[in-house]
């Protein structure tokens, strides 16, 4: 437990000082993807379900939030709420269909459903098609705080991230989280212990989708843009990579993974086409030699060296 508290403190301190050290918009992007990756990890790392369609939640929450704020003139907090609710509803539909199959099929079903949502985003007029939804106003938070100011926006994003992360942390360490882990480790056993496994899976899926949606809606607010990039299957792959690289099934791993990948994309922008190749190479290395991820390996190293945390 102590190690986790240290983690929280480090996270909080880093979060508070980061915008003075690094370009704040980049940190906000990292925070959005960290929340997205943590939400994804809830499903992959703790329940053992590989969804290859999480881009749908990120992207459609972004569209919903953007539409609600730009066209309907809602305030930012209601915009985020609308995006999160849309992602949760979508997650319920995806989840209900996908949990009918397991393992490899689960991944394929979620990928196919996300592709369906991609084509819908391409065809519906309100998403702006290829151009996306541009110029979304940031608005005033609760009618008081002007989010057009970068620092206000930053601390709001930090608060959203910490809130979402706290929910995930609570979920993992609750009795519900224990059942999720039981399903991951041995599903037939969980069934024989009397747990309604499908309901737990669906609940985990909806929770993961909703928080991914929160991340997507926040991202739309930061960049004032909702676009097809966020619903494309590349995004679904990227979030798997962040989680895998950071360490799936660890609390802080996805944050580390998201930071590394977003940082890489930011500073490696001149790499152009090579970014995809590099992403692929990291994938291959992670799977072949580095399956515990950065945080997982560190934790193993600490355990081996006998330091008590």
């Amino acid at each position: 437990m102590k190690g986790k508290n240290i983690g929280w403190i480090v996270l909080l301190v880093l979060g508070l000082i980061a915008p003075f050290l690094v370009y704040p918009v980049l940190v906000m992007k990292i925070l959005c993807f960290s929340l997205f990756a943590c939400a994804f990890n809830l499903l992959l790392g703790y329940t053992g379900l590989l969804s290859f369609g999480h881009a749908a939640f990120l992207g459609w929450a972004g569209y919903t939030c953007g539409y609600a704020m730009k066209e309907l003139g809602l305030s930012p907090e209601l915009g985020l709420l609308a995006g999160t609710a849309a992602a949760a509803a979508l997650g319920f539909v995806f989840g209900s269909l996908a949990i009918r199959r397991s393992g490899i099929y689960f991944a394929m079903v979620t990928l196919a459903l996300a592709q369906l949502m991609y084509f819908l985003a391409l065809q519906f007029p309100f998403t702006g098609g290829e151009d996306g939804l541009q110029g979304v106003p940031r608005g005033r938070l609760f009618g008081l705080v002007d989010l057009a100011d970068t620092m206000n926006m930053y601390y709001f994003v930090l608060a959203v991230f910490l809130g979402g992360f706290w929910v995930i942390d609570r979920a993992i360490h609750s009795p519900f989280g224990q059942v999720m882990k039981a399903i991951r480790e041995n599903e037939p056993r969980a069934i024989s212990l009397g747990y309604d496994v499908d309901r737990y899976k669906l609940l985990a899926f909806v929770l993961s989708a909703a928080l991914s949606g929160l991340a997507g809606a926040t991202k739309t607010l930061v960049f004032q843009l909702a676009s097809l990039t966020d619903v494309h299957w590349h995004m679904s792959g990227e979030i798997v990579l962040m989680t895998l690289l950071g360490g799936m099934g660890t609390v802080f791993g996805p944050i580390v993974g998201a930071t590394v990948v977003v940082g890489l994309q930011n500073y490696g922008a001149e790499l152009g086409q090579w970014v995809n190749v590099l992403t692929g190479v990291i994938f291959v290395i992670c799977v072949l030699a580095f399956r515990r991820g950065i945080v997982g390996e560190l934790a193993a190293l600490i355990r081996r060296s006998g330091i008590r945390m």
């Binding site: 590989l50 290859f52 269909l97 996908a98 009918r100 199959r101 397991s102 393992g103 490899i104 099929y105 991944a107 394929m108 079903v109 990928l111 196919a112 459903l113 592709q115 369906l116 084509f119 819908l120 065809q123 299957w233 792959g237 798997v240 895998l244 152009g272 086409q273 090579w274 970014v275 995809n276 190749v277 992403t279 692929g280 190479v281 990291i282 994938f283 291959v284 992670c286 799977v287 072949l288 399956r291």
Partner: protein
Amino acid sequence: MDIFGIPIQALMGQLLIGLINGSFYAILSLGLAIIFGLLNIINFSHGALYMMGAFGAWIGLTYLGINYWVALVAVPVVVGIFGMIIERTMLKHLYRLDHLYGLLLTFGLALIIEGLFRYRFGISGESYPVPELLSGGFNLGFMFLPKYRAWVIAVSLVVCFGSWYIIERTKLGSYLRAGTENPQLLQAFGINVPLMITLTYGFGVALAAFAGVLAAPVFQVNPVMGSNLIIVVFAVVVIGGMGSIMGSIVTGLGLGLVEGLTRVFYPEASAVVIFVIMGIVLLLRPAGLFGRER
């Protein structure tokens, strides 16, 4: 002559394209099913390897002067060997792990292959001429049937049913089926199972590359042609279930036709119809049309 207010010419044209797409779905999902049966891996790089097949034909023609007919045999062999190298060097290490790692590894490989081709060839696409022998077409009275399209459908059917025959009716196929059921027991009978796995992966990959060569004169040859296709093929596999070889073939062809019909009657939905069908099948028959649930 009209059917439901659609000129028969247009209807038949779309059905033909549907059948061609269906042939590619069938060949690719067949390859996926064979690989999955023995390796327990969903080969995400299948689309990229299909793209390599199409590019292989184009590169052969443009730089080496290799004609279509040679490419049809040589490219699948080369890409198949490439696949076997992947299996020997990487996939081999994953068999004892969760199936998901195989999916993730081949996803990474797909990104690498696609990225390299995009870097070298851009995304605008290249066109591959229809071989001379198959240019032109037949006038069937009610429609014009381009020879090349007829050839694609015919040869796809031959390949699909040939594969089915080998797997279900020959001694070699019986080893394959036995390996799918119980590899340890088969090994105990003195069959070299690791070699068989490598060859099977190579065969599945060669099928994908073969489909790629067939596709080169029909579609634009471009680096992303495979990734767009493979997601649809995944939906096809979910609908059909991977338990049966014949199931994969029938589902692939059938869904191609349905897609073609949708393009005639409600074009806006043609990109999504297969995914919608997948949703309906999951609701009504979760194991898939031909599937056995685990």
